[in-house]
């Protein structure tokens, strides 16, 4: 897997300063590894990593989900709509 585009929102967007980041991940990487990778590139988000849920193709997935190239990936902080 060459690299994966990750959508960011709300506080995560503010901390990273971008709406999307591109992360390099090994083949077979999971959501958990994706979060860790984000924390390495942007240490400022580390306190929030455990609260982030991943959405793939607009569906929530668990931390052990294995990412595939071409999927639409987003990291979702705790939601507060309504």
């Amino acid at each position: 897997m060459p690299s994966i585009n990750v959508r960011l929102f709300a506080g995560l967007h503010d901390l990273v300063g971008k709406r999307d980041v591109v992360l390099d991940l090994p083949d077979g990487a999971t959501v958990e590894q994706l979060r860790d990778r984000l924390g390495e590139e942007y240490p400022i988000v580390q306190p929030f990593l455990t609260t982030l849920v991943c959405a793939v193709d607009e569906e929530y997935v668990p931390p052990e989900y294995v990412l595939h190239e071409g999927e639409d990936v987003a990291l979702i902080p705790p939601i507060s709509g309504g």
Binding site: F9, E64, S80
Partner: protein
């Protein structure tokens, strides 16, 4: 009728969309921006959303409500962007033959929207601001 929009929300088209000739009751919920939260004075709110997914999840909540309650129709709009005190952030309309089911289904829909739809609010106070952390969405048990 479902939307994530930056425009002010208009309830009448929603009510017209959900009411059917067999409906005896329509419950309409307004989420509105209030001037305080947790004891702090709020100046305004800023809403962010994962728009396409939020719209999808709004529709899924509607499907869930229709499967669970005897409703005739359901519609929901969520506004995003900057909202002033008193402005409407969320509208949910549900119609049913009887009032009990209309109230229960509408209440359930609002609860589920808050649990599943990827929208975020930032409170802006006179001396700062903060993204509110509400619900961590549930994920399916195991998948890969």
């Amino acid at each position: 009728m479902f939307a994530i929009t930056r425009e002010p929300l208009d309830p009448q088209p929603l009510v017209d969309a959900v009411r059917k000739d067999e409906s005896g009751a329509v419950a309409l919920f307004y989420g509105v921006v209030r001037n305080h939260n947790m004891g702090r004075s709020v100046q305004y709110l800023e809403y962010d959303a994962y728009e396409s997914m939020a719209l999808k999840k709004l529709r899924e909540v509607a499907d869930e409500v229709c499967a669970k309650f005897p409703v005739n129709g359901i519609a929901a709009l969520h506004r995003i962007g900057r909202l002033q005190i008193g402005e409407t952030s969320l509208l949910v309309a549900v119609s049913s033959p009887h009032r009990k089911e209309a109230f229960e289904a509408c209440h359930y829909a609002v609860d589920r929207i808050k649990e599943t739809v990827p929208v975020w609010k930032k409170e802006v106070w006179e001396d700062g601001s903060e993204w509110i952390e509400g619900h961590v969405p549930e994920v399916p048990e195991r998948e890969s």
